[in-house]
Amino acid sequence: MIKELLGNIVRALFLIIFQVLILNNIGLGGYINPYLYILIILLLPLETPAWLTQIISFGVGITIDIIVETPGMHTSAMIFIGFIRPFLLKYSAPRDGYETDDEPNIKSLGLSWFFKYALILTSAHHLFLFQVESFNFTNIGHTLIRTVLSTIFTLSLILLTQYLRIGNSHKNKF
């Protein structure tokens, strides 16, 4: 339990630092901005209460916002995925429900499940974020293009980290 908590905190700190120091400096043509820090919410334990998910989302979002000086923008998008994640988990559960030791990652629940799960949350987050950023509906086309391209990029990064993790755990096991 403590180990899991510590693991999540370390992951969160690492991802936030990685985000603000490296990923925020990647801007490919003004269209692609990867936001890997949402992995913090994606990888929270399955049994995390819904209210706690929202609080953590709020905390992570506001941290990023304070660092990059866009108060409210990342916070609102993060609260949004924090709100929908419990419902998504509920409706995408396997037929027999989750096992007690299941974790929301490829190793535990498979690539297909994780891909859908990550795709929905990532695109929801990106759409919300870019819409709040542009804050009008006249150039929604531009917002959608940014959402699609950035989602592809972020999703690739997320899957990449998953395979890194799998490799690690194999190494640990043997």
Binding site: W51, Q54, F58, T70, G72, I79, F80, V132
Partner: protein
């Protein structure tokens, strides 16, 4: 209150989401210049819209009052127009003659109201007591009988139209002289039904129907219409004749009130004879 708490508990995630989003958007509008100006623009537009809508609703509320005011103003203006004065002239003369006694008296009048679309249609004419109109007198035009004057006020009279299901007019066939009762069935504005004509006489389509002169209301020989369709009545002893009226009731503007000067005399005789 209990229900409210139950609602809050049940949807606590959603309300929490809303609260956190409110905080996030509060921060967004507070610290981001672009979002702040967008927010202010939008909210100004929205409040402007709301206020103009409220104003529209308010305008609507006082519509009745405004209408009343306008109508009062209109009436005041119309009162000053020349059209609102009608002639009080009486256009008949009495001629005294010891050989020919004047029997029928005509007063020209203007139709000021005319209904044709009901079962009990009436007309209003612009002549009344002041102009010598009495009730139970006839209203005619050069194309036929229009109706019977019923109620008379100082300046106007109401007329029961021939297009009224409760009217009976004594009419006859001009050629044979047989008379019957003319009634309207409430269907067509151009047709009446002549009944009580005995079946032994021959009638052709297109025969003229005129007033009989047996009533004290209409003089004899006032044209009414032409026969159009001849049927037997239910008991087969009388004809039931469809009469096409010559007068189009929709377009009457002027007519004549025709009064029998000896009406009272004849009526009093009728009353006397009733007891015989």
């Amino acid at each position: 209150m209990k229900n409210l708490i139950r609602l809050l508990v049940r949807y606590h995630l959603f309300f929490m989401f809303l609260a956190l989003e409110a905080i996030a958007f509060g921060l967004l509008f507070q610290y981001n210049r672009y979002h702040r100006s967008s927010y202010i623009n939008a909210s100004t537009a929205i409040t402007g819209n709301v206020f103009s809508t409220i104003q529209k609703v308010k305008d609507y509320m006082i519509l009745a009052e405004s209408n009343k005011q306008l109508a009062a103003e209109n009436a005041q203006i119309k009162n000053t127009l020349a059209q609102s004065y009608k002639s009080n002239r009486i256009s008949f003369k009495e001629i005294y003659d010891s050989i020919f006694i004047k029997n029928w008296e005509y007063v020209d009048c203007k139709i000021v109201f005319n209904s044709t679309n009901k079962q009990n249609n009436i007309l209003i004419i612009d002549k009344g007591l002041k102009h010598g109109i009495k009730s139970e007198t006839g209203l005619i035009t050069d194309r036929g009988i229009i109706g019977i004057v019923r109620h008379v006020s100082d300046n106007y009279s109401s007329v029961m139209s021939l297009l009224n299901v409760s009217i009976n007019v004594s009419a006859k066939l001009k050629k044979s002289g047989h008379f019957g009762t003319l009634q309207w069935d409430g269907v067509s504005n151009n047709h009446c039904w002549l009944s009580d004509i005995p079946t032994h006489i021959t009638i052709n389509n297109g025969d003229t129907v005129v007033s009989s002169g047996y009533s004290t209301i209409f003089p004899e020989g006032i044209i009414i219409g032409v026969t159009e369709d001849i049927n037997r009545s239910d008991d087969m002893n009388f004809f039931r004749i469809k009469v096409r009226l010559l007068q189009d009731f929709g377009i009457i503007t002027h007519a004549y009130v025709v009064q029998n000067i000896f009406k009272e005399e004849i009526d009093s005789l009728k009353t006397l004879s009733r007891h015989d």
